[in-house]
Symmetry: C2
């Protein structure tokens, strides 16, 4: 089903997608989709969360600051890209119970956890995962959703600096 | 039109709204709505932004910390309420060009600006509006959208404390 949606998205475009179209491509009846997903928006939300799943571990650059800056920049680039913005919207919209939005946040938390565990392993002083979510992930996602103008990867890097060097505030 | 939507929301509920229903209540033809708003979601987005507009100035409690804590708690209570969550969703969903999401953020920035201008008038050292958006508004909105569990007004207050007392981090 996910593959059918992705193929059709690239062939006919996001706006032209319909449940019957996806059903035909996937070789099922529309009612199969309605039973499982309720409507197209919920199916697109599941597909979006799948696309937002990180496919690699955060890079190990040898110290917390470099790892966190590299991860924050990559997270920003992925989420702020046209595809990323569309997936975030889809994930939020067809998500009545909030489970898919929660999964997006869980993906980010898992990646940050890897970075922080590595830092702890090196004996570096590291913030809590929830603090990194508040100080780096939340501002990036908030600005992508609510103030997308003049955003760049340098902004994500500055958030990491502000977190690790409070004096720079 | 906004009044027609609000009346129908309370009478038949959000899910039962349709363009013909709103048109009849507002005494216009459905095509009038489609011409002006494109579809129901865009109309609901405009109505939601209108509902999210602050109707009072932030309270003046005499010092920056009290003003910002009070504002952050009220902002949290409004946005985290069932109605607030529904309006945030509506505002984001029927908003192809991002104008309505930007307006939501502008409302928060204007309120914060009032609080910070007052602090400056008292000779208090105050952070920049953009910093308050990153450190208080963004985490509140991010958690409402992506991790709604176990949120309370004390969380919003702690964000203000973390901003004004970096040592407490």
């Amino acid at each position: 089903m996910h593959a059918a949606v992705r193929e059709l998205e690239s062939e006919v475009g996001r706006e032209a997608l319909t449940v019957p179209l996806v059903a035909t491509r996937a070789g099922v009846t529309p009612s199969t989709i309605y039973r499982r997903w309720g409507d197209l928006q919920e199916l697109l939300s599941d597909v979006a969360v799948e696309r937002l799943r990180p496919d690699t571990e955060p890079e190990d650059r040898g110290d917390l600051r470099s790892d966190l800056e590299a991860w924050a920049e990559q997270f920003f680039e992925e989420m702020a890209s046209p595809a990323g913005r569309a997936y975030i919207r889809d994930a939020l919209l067809g998500d009545p119970d909030g489970g898919n939005a929660g999964q997006c946040s869980a993906y980010a938390a898992e990646q940050i956890d890897v970075v922080l565990a590595r830092a702890a392993g090196r004996g570096e002083r590291a913030p809590a995962v929830e603090t990194v979510l508040d100080r780096v992930v939340a501002p990036v996602m908030y600005r992508i959703l609510f103030r997308p103008d003049k955003l760049d990867a340098a902004y994500a890097r500055r958030l990491v600096t502000g977190l690790l060097d409070p004096a720079d505030r």
